[in-house]
């Protein structure tokens, strides 16, 4: 009756965590789907080709780097972090950008920004944004070739799937098209140029690329990103602090100017629903590795991103500044974390 049994005694807690890194990243992927669908609807199948290309390059490079580092390949590939980096990058570049843009971007993201800094969890800068900024600075021409969104007359000219493939791989448009005919300035480009030429906002907004409150198409894409983002918050994959801080700061910072002079300052909604702000707020600035961990830190991080984005949009050389803003705030994240340490129980501040 009295048989002795031995057990392995490990330290408490004895229940393993239910969550895994892979599960978190997979949910982020799911949350991106509505946005990707909307983007494809408005800008054509080029988006999907860019995503496929980037993912292919990212996973291959990740595999190679893991091999080189002697890390367990299957484990780290199944965390999906490289896939997310690739998709976020692909969503930022023009749908018909040549294939080598993805390759160069992914080398910058996976090899330089991620693995040269020590791999998952060690990188200082958001890899997707490093990639985007590298190609944006190195290949400005290719990166400005945005297409007209569905609903515009020019959009009827857009190439189909096969032609898109051909364009991406050859770098040349089909014979009946020219870049000049189909390239369309983004709403933020127009806004920036218009304001610089001292034109009235209402006049600028008469251009067909503007929609009801943001850019045509862009406003809907932003809505779908926000939908995915809110689902992530509801699933507690990301906390509400960064997205709310970014969007609230943008509103608070641009509202006074708009109220003061609506003819030369765009309505705050214009800032939110054009460009990459919503994508940035929910999916890019919330990257945990390169962000802040404490709640107050996240709020400050979000405020910083909003402030820098607006600064670059209004006074900088680029029409959109989310990528630069996120990278700049990445540098400050450790400092912010240091000064926003929560107060420990029973200790004076």
């Amino acid at each position: 009756m009295n048989f002795s049994r031995g057990f392995n005694n490990m330290g408490s807690p004895h229940l393993p965590p239910e969550n895994t890194v892979g599960k978190i990243m997979l949910q982020v992927l799911l949350a991106l789907l509505p946005g990707i669908a909307a983007m494809t609807w408005f800008f054509g199948a080029g988006i999907l080709i860019q995503i496929a290309l980037s993912v292919l390059f990212a996973v291959s490079l990740e595999w190679a780097m893991l091999k080189l580092h002697g890390k367990p390949v299957r484990l780290f590939l199944s965390d999906y972090s490289a896939v997310i980096t690739a998709i976020l990058f692909a969503l930022c570049i023009p749908p018909l950008a040549p294939w080598w843009i993805s390759l160069i971007g992914m080398i910058a993201a996976i090899v330089v920004a991620k693995h040269l800094y020590g791999g998952l969890g060690q990188n200082v800068f958001n890899p997707a944004m490093v990639a985007y900024v590298v190609v944006l600075i190195a290949f400005p021409l290719e990166l400005t070739r945005w297409l007209p969104p569905r609903g515009l007359a020019e959009a009827e000219l857009l190439p189909g799937l096969l032609q898109s493939l051909q364009t991406i791989f050859s770098g040349h448009l089909p014979v009946n098209l020219s870049w000049d005919a189909i390239t369309q300035a983004t709403p933020l480009d127009l806004l920036k140029d218009g304001v610089e030429q001292n034109r009235m906002i209402s006049e600028i907004r008469r251009a067909p690329v503007f929609g009801n409150y943001g850019g045509r198409g862009w406003e809907w894409i932003a809505n779908f990103y926000a939908l995915g983002g809110i689902w992530l918050i509801w699933r507690r994959v990301i906390s509400w602090h960064i997205p709310v801080a970014i969007i609230a700061s943008v509103i608070i910072l641009t509202l006074p100017a708009w109220l003061y002079d609506p003819s030369s300052n765009p309505i705050p909604l214009e800032h939110i629903f054009s460009g990459a702000l919503v994508l940035g707020a929910f999916f890019i600035a919330t990257d945990p590795v390169t962000g802040c961990a404490s709640r107050r830190g996240k709020l400050i991080f979000g405020l910083g991103v909003a402030l820098l984005t607006l600064t670059i949009r209004l006074w900088g050389g680029y029409p959109d500044g989310v990528a630069f803003a996120v990278l700049l705030m990445n540098m400050f994240a450790p400092l912010i974390d240091r000064y926003t340490r929560p107060r420990a129980y029973g200790k004076p501040r």
Binding site: G6, N8, M10, G11
Partner: protein, 194 residues
């Protein structure tokens, strides 16, 4: 030209005065580097480093007369701390001075053999041995630093070093071993051991 000369002279004067004042106002008494080094040294007072105690060794390091790798009781961890403090490279322990013990030790006197010669009492650098002439001696275990200086003088060889025992009162958790593969989880978390 003249203005520049005058300004520069004035500036030199002001900074000179400020520096002079700071030198008096913020003067540090004693040898702060030696103090910091001494705080790292284990205070065993074993003299294995070749100096008659930890303080003299600390002063020698501060004066750059001695290397930082001559303290066996401090061991690797001590060398690392010293290297960090002084901005030097981490070097292995000098094999000539001795080896690092795995566990701290204390001396014990076999009291039935002891003849009460007091030689060990004179050798003990921290007065951790009690006793008088022709009386049996004993080591105050809590005060003993494990320097072994009492062993050579003993004429009847009645002093031994014993490692301090790890029991429930001084045991603490070790560094966790990372689990890196799924199969290891099964090995260590799931399987029955005995």
């Amino acid at each position: 030209m003249t203005a520049a000369v005058i300004i520069l002279t004035l500036l030199a004067l002001i900074f000179g005065l400020a520096l002079g004042y700071a030198a008096i106002r913020f003067r540090i008494e004693g040898n702060p580097v030696a103090d910091e080094i001494e705080a790292i040294l284990p205070q065993t007072q074993c003299a294995q480093c070749g100096y008659p105690g930890c303080r003299p060794y600390a002063e020698a390091i501060a004066a750059e007369e001695a290397e930082i790798n001559r303290c066996p009781p401090g061991g690797e961890a001590g060398i690392k701390q010293l290297a960090e403090l002084l901005g030097k490279d981490i070097i292995p322990l000098d094999a000539d001075v001795g080896i690092e013990k795995a566990l701290p030790e204390v001396a014990i006197i076999h009291e039935d053999v002891c003849i009460g010669c007091t030689k060990c009492i004179q050798a003990c650098p921290v007065d951790a041995i009690l006793g008088a002439a022709k009386q049996m001696h004993t080591v105050i275990a809590t005060e003993c630093t494990g320097c072994e200086l009492c062993i050579p003088p003993c004429p009847v060889d009645c002093i031994d070093m014993i490692p301090t025992k790890i029991d429930i009162t001084n045991w603490h958790w070790g560094k966790p071993i990372p689990i890196t593969t799924i199969s290891e989880i099964a090995d260590t978390r799931g399987e029955e051991v005995a």
